[in-house]
Assembly symmetry: none
Homo-oligomer: 266 residues x 2
């Protein structure tokens, strides 16, 4: 691990703190607001709440690991520097988090759509499996120290990602066209949000390769960590709130469904 200036250490530290705060705030919002949603789509809100709760927990762990990996040391010139303690910064937390949350993210999207129950289960299984494969295949590259290995596993991980995009933009296209009004617009937009945020991860993943040398410089370390924070906030909090907006729009446009189901759920 490279040594960091006080400002560099704090930037990553504050990015982790911000991400944790965003996750638990979204969790509180979803838990407090789930009753605004008709029971038919409430499952999607529960999944969204799970995602941000799991991610919030892992960010606490990442936060602690970051603190344990560095110790503030005053140099001979009196400048405060954060020097590696030797305790490894545990990046695996992020992959464990993704292994749990990424399949849930695709399940959220299926849960908020108006599909036949049988179709929903099988689609969730296929997309969830692809999402898990994507994360698992990315990991060996993340911990690799040479750029060749990183590129190879990154490439393999891209295959299930492309399958997910195929299902979302081709397979689900007729179902999205059959949705009404605001819900249809939001469903189109959430696919784009998913593409934009999930597309951000490969870019962060490639930073060590793009930076030229395989060495972990302070700049690369900071860019990767802050980059993943931004991607996680958008892909989990932003995405979860959009799932809520879709469920809310559908709750308002399908009032006839509300009454009997609400009565059943009471």
């Amino acid at each position: 691990m490279p040594s960091l200036s006080s400002g560099e250490f704090s930037l990553v530290y504050n990015a982790f703190s911000f991400t944790f705060a965003a996750m638990f705030a979204t969790f509180i919002f979803l838990v407090m607001s789930r009753n605004n949603i008709v029971p038919k789509y409430r499952g999607a809100i529960v999944l969204s709440a799970l995602v941000v709760a799991i991610a919030g927990y892992h960010y606490l762990r990442i936060f602690e690991s970051w603190q344990a990996a560095f110790v503030p040391t005053e140099s001979a010139e009196g400048v405060l520097t954060y020097v590696a303690t030797g305790a490894p910064f545990n990046d695996a937390y992020r992959y464990i988090d993704w292994l749990l949350t990424v399949p849930l993210l695709v399940a959220e999207l299926v849960a908020v759509m108006a599909l036949a129950p049988g179709k929903k289960g099988w689609l969730t299984f296929r997309l969830g499996l692809a999402a898990a494969l994507m994360v698992i295949l990315g990991y060996p590259g993340e911990i690799a120290t040479d750029t060749g290995t990183r590129a190879l596993w990154g490439f393999l991980s891209t295959i299930p990602f492309l399958y997910i995009l195929y299902e979302l933009f081709v397979g689900l296209a007729p179902a999205i066209r059959s949705e009404k009004g605001q819900a249809q617009v939001l469903l189109r937009n959430i696919r784009l949000l998913l593409l934009a945020t999930w597309g951000f991860y490969p870019i962060v993943y490639l930073i060590p390769i793009l930076s030229g040398s395989g060495a972990l410089t302070a700049g690369v370390l900071i860019a990767v960590q802050v980059g993943y924070c931004i991607a996680d906030v958008a892909a989990k909090c932003g995405y979860g709130l959009m799932i809520y907006a879709i469920a809310r729009a559908k709750s308002e446009s399908e009032p006839q469904v509300t009454a009997p189901l609400a009565a059943a759920a009471r």
Copy 2:
């Protein structure tokens, strides 16, 4: 960081503890009382609860950072003094907190008002963006060591603040006039509370300039930290409780709306 006497260290320490307690107590109150509010205005209560939850979390972090920044040391004369450990006191937490909570505070106010849904979204967006800009522009001045830089960014940060005041006191005036009875009185008052509490932050911000020298003396450090605590309790707990009072007054004066919506949400 200057050295502090035992009393000075404890004063700030206790102010942080008090602020954390006030935040989580308000959070519990809002969560436990939200069902007293008709569903139409319940979103405002959820936002109020989010604000105090996020602020409570950041005060815990600020608290920890304050403890880590000083170590109690007995001087040669046997007087207990708190000496800087070298670990920086992380003021950035406060700005991260504000970045999340200040846009939510303006969103609370819009959510509790009787505006057309389309108008609400656009107004929330404009006010939220101005609030975020206000916080972002203030930060470079807060961490600056010279008073000129502090004054410059403070000035820039004031521009979005004035825009928010314009929207609240001019733009929203007709909508507030159309509110009924107690709700109208409370809405007028909450604007004044917002003006008074948000107006307090620039004063705290200016303390290092007003104190003459750019040096961070113990007096300036304490005044800024305790000042921000007072402002945060008033602007988040006090403000959130007032939002609750407005929503409560409107829940009682709009009973015709209550019944069907409450039944649907049950």
